[in-house]
């Protein structure tokens, strides 16, 4: 495979000292990335390392707090993604971003439809142009077809065509192969090679080592919002790359906690999702006083599995036992009654009630325990309990009447943990418990988790952060593509072992 030709010495793209802060967390800390034209530049790092945030800054979706972006040596600051496209930066997003009810051609030309002399859309030209484009890229699809009727992988291929069609000098691909088959990946690589020939700079974000070594010329590694460095792929090995991504030693310190691992509290047998692409045939046990870590890469279906156990998602087969009793037709209500609590991954989407105050956000899952004889709520007691839990967790808030949306991510998370502690659970599912939380608050959450298992509760912790998985878990179960690829005991829990299991089917 031909390595890129270097036409000149200027970089196609330079991002220098990019810093971006979200409330309560520094997502990017002075990140610098330089990409040469006619090369494929892989961007790697664990989930949450800041890759996507960096690309969103490039693309004008986020505005960086400080830093400079240069295109072909000239400084640019994109107002929005439209502006970025006009300047020759296009992006294939991780999630499909098409309009399913419109045709392939209409999607490709969305926002820049060719017009005829009356100022109306020239459908004929649009379809013709699309046909040529698709033919050049050897994509076998008719321009008139409704894009939503195509397979997900074909839709993804069309998005790639769209990104290419802007004649961009920089094309960003954020995990473009996550829904492609092997043959389609080969096809994509062919397209990428074409782009390289045309002197385009391709930024390629992926977790898949094999792909990086096949297609990329250079690789930059990010960790915890910082750029670790840029390297020639030719000088890289699998092991080197992994150790760069995870960091040689865990930067975070974890609190000491001594818990007695006891009897089985939760047992899951052969749990399968009705969706064949989701979790299949997963079995595991969690014991009293134990933290079971769940590892895996994005798309490993960890969240889906947790949601199924908590009854948010349907299951096709399999059994769930709590304390030895089988629970049929699990719903969140039943789960709570049986002493399970769930802190969801998506704090905004399914965690907080943004316009409710701290007190109500805390008590919402335990209202039943605070009814008087007339079945009216005992507001005073409820509030006192909310205060008690939030105090114990050291939630920082001006008052209990403050709306939760005005707190930082870490404090929001503490309120949500308080909410579940108030339901007096035996088993707590924590999906990415420290996502988007700064280092100090992370440590406090680890301490809380330690105290909980010391009290004899069981915790299932889904985490994409290796140090967290290794530092906190008694055992780690690893999923890959919806299947359990292994359970590691504390002694076997190394980053390499987890990564090996997490990429088993890739």
């Amino acid at each position: 495979m031909g390595r890129g030709r270097q036409m000149d010495t200027t970089f196609a793209l330079e991002m220098e000292g990019i810093t971006k802060t979200f409330p309560g967390v520094k997502a990017l800390d002075g990140v610098t990335l330089r990409v040469k034209p006619g090369t494929v530049h892989a961007l790697m790092g664990e989930n949450g390392a800041g890759k996507s945030t960096l690309m969103k800054c490039l693309f004008g979706i986020y505005q960086e707090d400080s830093g400079i972006i240069k295109l072909n040596g000239k400084e640019h600051r994109f107002k929005d993604s439209h502006d970025a496209l006009n300047q020759g930066v296009s992006m294939i997003h991780q999630e499909l971003s098409n309009v399913p009810e419109r045709s392939v051609a209409e999607n490709l030309f969305l926002g820049r439809e060719p017009l005829n002399k009356f100022g109306l859309i020239d459908h004929k030209k649009m379809n013709e142009d699309t046909r040529h484009l698709l033919k050049d890229l050897e994509i076998n699809v008719k321009p008139e077809v409704r894009i939503g009727s195509l397979s997900i992988s074909m839709q993804q291929t069309c998005e790639i065509a769209k990104a290419v069609s802007y004649n961009a000098s920089v094309v960003v691909m954020d995990e473009p192969t996550s829904s492609l088959t092997d043959n389609e990946v080969k096809h994509l690589f062919k397209i990428i090679n074409q782009l390289r020939e045309q002197n385009v700079a391709v930024i390629y974000i992926s977790h898949k080592m094999e792909e990086i070594f096949t297609i990329a010329d250079e690789v930059s590694v990010m960790r915890d919002g910082q750029m670790i460095g840029s390297y020639d792929v030719a000088d890289m090995t699998n092991e080197k790359l992994i150790s760069l991504m995870v960091g040689r030693d865990a930067k975070l310190r974890f609190p000491e906690f001594k818990s007695n691992v006891g009897e089985v509290l939760l047992k899951v047998e052969n749990l399968s999702s009705p969706n064949p692409r989701s979790f299949q045939d997963v079995s595991f046990e969690v014991h009293r006083g134990e933290i079971l870590g769940i590892g895996g890469l994005m798309g490993a279906q960890r969240t889906e599995l947790m949601e199924a156990i908590f009854g948010v998602r349907a299951t096709k087969e399999g059994k769930i036992y709590v304390d030895g009793d089988e629970i049929l037709n699990m719903t969140p209500r039943k789960a709570i009654e049986h002493g399970i609590g769930m802190i969801t991954e998506d704090r905004r989407g399914s965690g907080i009630f943004p316009l409710m105050n701290i007190s109500n956000n805390t008590s919402i899952a335990s209202l039943k325990e605070y009814l008087n004889k007339l079945h009216l709520l005992k507001h005073k007691e409820m509030k006192e309990e909310s205060v008690r839990y939030n105090k114990a967790l050291r939630t920082k808030t001006p008052t209990m009447e403050t709306l939760i949306q005005n707190l930082s991510g870490g404090n929001q998370q503490k309120v949500i943990i308080s909410r579940w502690l108030m339901t007096l659970p035996d088993i707590l599912i924590m999906d990415e418990p420290t996502r988007g939380i700064d280092v100090g608050a992370k440590y406090e959450i680890y301490q809380i988790m330690g105290q909980l298992v010391e009290q004899g509760k069981a915790i299932i912790m889904v985490s994409s952060e290796m140090p967290e998985l290794i530092g906190m878990s008694h055992r780690v179960m690893v999923l890959c593509s919806g299947k359990c690829t292994g359970v590691l005991d504390k002694s076997e829990c190394t980053q390499e072992n987890i990564m090996r299991l997490a990429t088993k089917f890739m």
């Binding site: 719903t331 969140p332 209500r333 709570i336 943004p354 316009l355 409710m356 919402i364 039943k368």
Partner: protein
Amino acid sequence: MKKLLNDSKKVASQYTTWVTFVGLLLLLSILTNGQALRWSSIRNLLIAESVRSFAALGVGMIIITKGIDLSIGYVVCLTASVAASFAQNPDYSSAIYAGQTFPLIVPIVAAVAAGGLFGLFNGYLIAYGKLPPFIATLGSMSIAKGLQLIYTKAAVVGSLNQNFKNISQGSVGPDPNLIIYVAIAALVVWILLKHTRQGTHFYAIGGNAQAARVSGINVERDLMMVYFYAGLLYGTAGTLLASRLGLANSLTANGMELDAIAAVTVGGVSQNGGVGKVSGMMVGVFTMGLINYGMSFLGVDSYYQQLVKGFIIIIAVYFDMKKYARRA
């Protein structure tokens, strides 16, 4: 000084509803040399807005759950017709049930039940049928209208007996019954929203339905119930309206859905769901009433009233959106 300004800004944005209401009231009292502030004037305002209050309380709860109800006007119209049909004088030859006398309880129960049934129908479609509230209630609006026309054969249901008319037209001392009914309804809805589990669930569902589900809330059942409760309130509104007017026809309560939605919106019930108080809903109703009433009092052409009302709604929602806009 700057702090004072900031503080007063904060208060103004937090209590937009009240500030608007008090401001309008003061303006009106200045323009009328204090006449508008007399109890007799205010009492008239309360009477005029009483039936709308019921509709507003109902749709206010619905909007808190992030829903909407377009069927209010015709459901109230239908329930008013049902109530009236059971309260006609037996000697009235065009009566729907000519020659029959029903106890006073029958029209009340029939109308409230009809309202409740419509509420359940709406609620079922929205909660379990997953229809968008706008569409579900658009359909039931037309159904209610059709049923009303079929039931009354498009005729006026008039000649109601005095006992029935006294429900609304009677008074306790100088104060009309209607004011008392409104106070009771507001109190009941306040207790429901503020002091019961289900009321808290309504806010949770409107604020973040997915988080509500994860918190163990039976979202579907609670959603259905909110439409049911609203239906009961519409049924009550229908009864009171028929009783107050002494008749019901196909024009009764026309457009009440828009008045009620506008009123609660002005009263700070957010269309984004999860936000709203009974006090706000009531103030919203009276603010809208005050605009109507004040402008009539001042002799402003009714065409301008529509215009002013329109602007007030838009301004109220504009500030509402700003207030709860997500920080990016």
